[in-house]
Amino acid sequence: MSSSETATDAAEGTEAEEAEAPPRDDRREAILARITEVLGDAVVGSHIRPGDDLWVRVDRDAWPDVHELASRRLGCTYFSFLSGLDWLPSPFGRDMDSQEDILTKGTEAKEPAPMASGYAGGDTRFQVFSRVNSPTEAYGITFKADLPDDDLSIRTLVPIFAGAQWHEREAREMFGFTFTGNPYPVNLYLPGAFEGYPLRKDFPLLSRRVKPWPGIVDVEPMPGQDSDEGEGEDG
């Protein structure tokens, strides 16, 4: 797919422009190359922070395959976690500078920013992401996969990493994803009859709907700007 080349090309382009500053991370580049070599088109995006971390975004169908590859051939046998990302900017803002601030200080309600994904790109609102570590080589890889809005399902990782079961249960109840093949898709944290998916951005923070937060403090402007009145951020 063309998007994979554009994503990696863009990353390499910026790195070439920055020339001296961050050194190339050969080890992570090699790992990324191996993944791309095996999975080919399924790798739709990637990002390397040199010396720090590697993000790889794969096609939804290749989700178990890339984990199998990481576990069997790249030595990443340690399963760290799995969860979801909802890139929709929250329609509720900070929820603290909502009613009270608007009333007392006349702050304008913020316009939510346009939706934009994070590292390694992303085309959809929801993404599944997971992290595996290598206990011997001291590095980790973060995998991401897009989930189309109309079909929030992806295959389960339980046959590869048994510990994924609890993480998938949590992601299911918090985001509404379906992990096909999960042996026990029952709510983990939430009570059985809970409606809604709390970690989605359009699910409000219920406690602030019930009662305004008593800890609202005013925001001090950045040094150098006009000084409004107000205390500093709680530190």
């Binding site: 994070g118 590095y139 609890w166 709510n187 925001v219 040094p223 951020e233």
Partner: protein, 392 residues
């Protein structure tokens, strides 16, 4: 001493248990469902374990967490970074300073700020002290769960020395809230280093005492040896961490292997402790030895604190630039990590908290098949979790 081979009798016991469990399941005799918890003295908080019993043997065992779910990941979306720092103290409330550190490290990664060496040093000292406070409590509590209640009192008594020192620096025994992006909040008070060295000595004595009283006790060894064996590959695939992983023989410690800049472990001479067996005794033993190593680390760090500022140049209002970062550290309970996704606001966009106890307890259904009810308690005790950590 790392290699201790379980004797043939224990191995035979384990095999017999597994065989018995299979037989009982095949008979499908009606068993009894027992709820261990959520209010129970043996679970560190409100953890509920639904156990299907056949007589005294567990046929299947399922932990039901969530009685203390506070919605941290949702809360972090509306809190500023210093506020999240306060919030996150309350995850593992026994060694609370340790919870702040990986979050601060992730934020510092995104802001491209590095704390000055003095701050890193003091951060590491407090991190290790929170490990001491946590594991000393574990060692004491081990007694309570096994039945030798005296160890609890010794544990709490000797933990006080460490907590007093943490309070002297941070102002809080349990929730220090001391780490800041770019450094730490305050400098050390006068005389603190000498007092902390005394506290370290007390902790060392406690280790000897508890080894004598509990870990070396024959009955404890009978209860814990050969019980709840977790092989290394299972431990890795479930994501166990901390002493649980190292007791199964996997030599993985984020302090050495993680590479998160911001802590001063590379300046200290210490070693990682592993054990081959993977049973309950191994886990308890590894933790005991880790306390001793921690004391060693603390003492070396106390001697070599560099002078300098304690806070880097960071704006008053923290707005973290756009990006994603993941930082993990070797917390007392295991590997704790924070995945911070930021959009350049005052508040993060998404924080995923990877807590060690979540993964540690997810292995309980696997490991508690076919054991007796007292063994379930032994296994839970040795896996060591804190409810706030499981439930976020």
């Amino acid at each position: 001493m790392t290699a201790v081979v379980p004797d043939a009798e224990q191995r035979a016991y384990v095999a017999a248990q597994a065989a018995d469990a299979r037989v009982n399941v095949e008979f499908e005799s009606e068993g009894m469902t027992l709820n261990i918890g959520p209010q129970h003295p043996a679970t560190h908080g409100t953890l509920r374990i639904v156990a299907k019993l056949d007589g005294e043997q567990v046929v299947s065992c399922e932990p039901v967490p969530g009685y203390m779910h506070r919605g941290y990941e949702k809360l972090t979306e509306v809190r500023t970074y210093p506020q999240i720092n306060t919030l996150v103290n309350r995850l593992d409330w026994v060694g609370s300073f340790a919870n702040e550190v990986p979050f601060i490290l992730a934020a510092e990664k995104l802001m491209d700020v590095e704390a000055p060496p003095r701050a890193q040093h003091i951060r590491t000292i407090l991190f290790e002290m929170s490990r001491l406070a946590n594991i000393v409590l574990f060692l004491g509590d081990l007694g309570a769960q096994m039945g030798g209640v005296t160890a609890v009192f010794y544990g709490f008594r000797d933990r006080e020395f460490v907590l007093n020192q943490i309070e002297a620096v941070t102002g809080g025994r349990f929730h220090p809230n001391f780490d800041r992006i770019g450094g730490i909040k305050d400098d050390l008070p006068k005389g603190w280093i000498a007092e902390t060295k005394v506290a370290m000595q007390k902790v060392r004595e406690f280790c000897d005492e508890v080894e004598d009283l509990l870990i070396g006790n024959e009955i404890f060894k009978m209860r814990a040896r050969g019980v709840g064996v977790i092989p290394a590959d299972v431990a890795l695939s479930y994501g166990l961490s901390g002493a649980n992983l190292r007791a199964s023989g996997v030599d993985y410690d984020i302090r050495r292997d993680g590479g998160a800049p911001g802590l001063a472990y590379d300046k200290v001479d210490w070693k990682v402790i592993t054990h081959v067996d993977g049973d309950c005794f191994a886990r308890c033993w590894v933790r005991l030895q880790e306390v001793r190593e921690s004391v060693k680390i603390c003492e070396q760090l106390l001697d070599t604190i560099p002078a300098g500022p304690i806070m880097a140049k960071v704006p008053r209002i923290i707005k973290v630039p756009e990006g994603e970062a993941y930082a993990e550290t070797e917390n007392p309970l295991g590997i704790m990590g924070y995945y911070v996704a930021s959009k350049g606001d005052l508040t993060p966009f998404r924080v995923k908290i990877r807590t060690p106890s979540f993964n540690n307890i997810s292995v309980v259904p696997w490991v508690a098949k076919g054991v007796y009810v007292p063994d379930v308690i032994t296994i839970l005790a040795s896996l060591y979790f804190i409810l706030g950590d499981i439930d976020k």
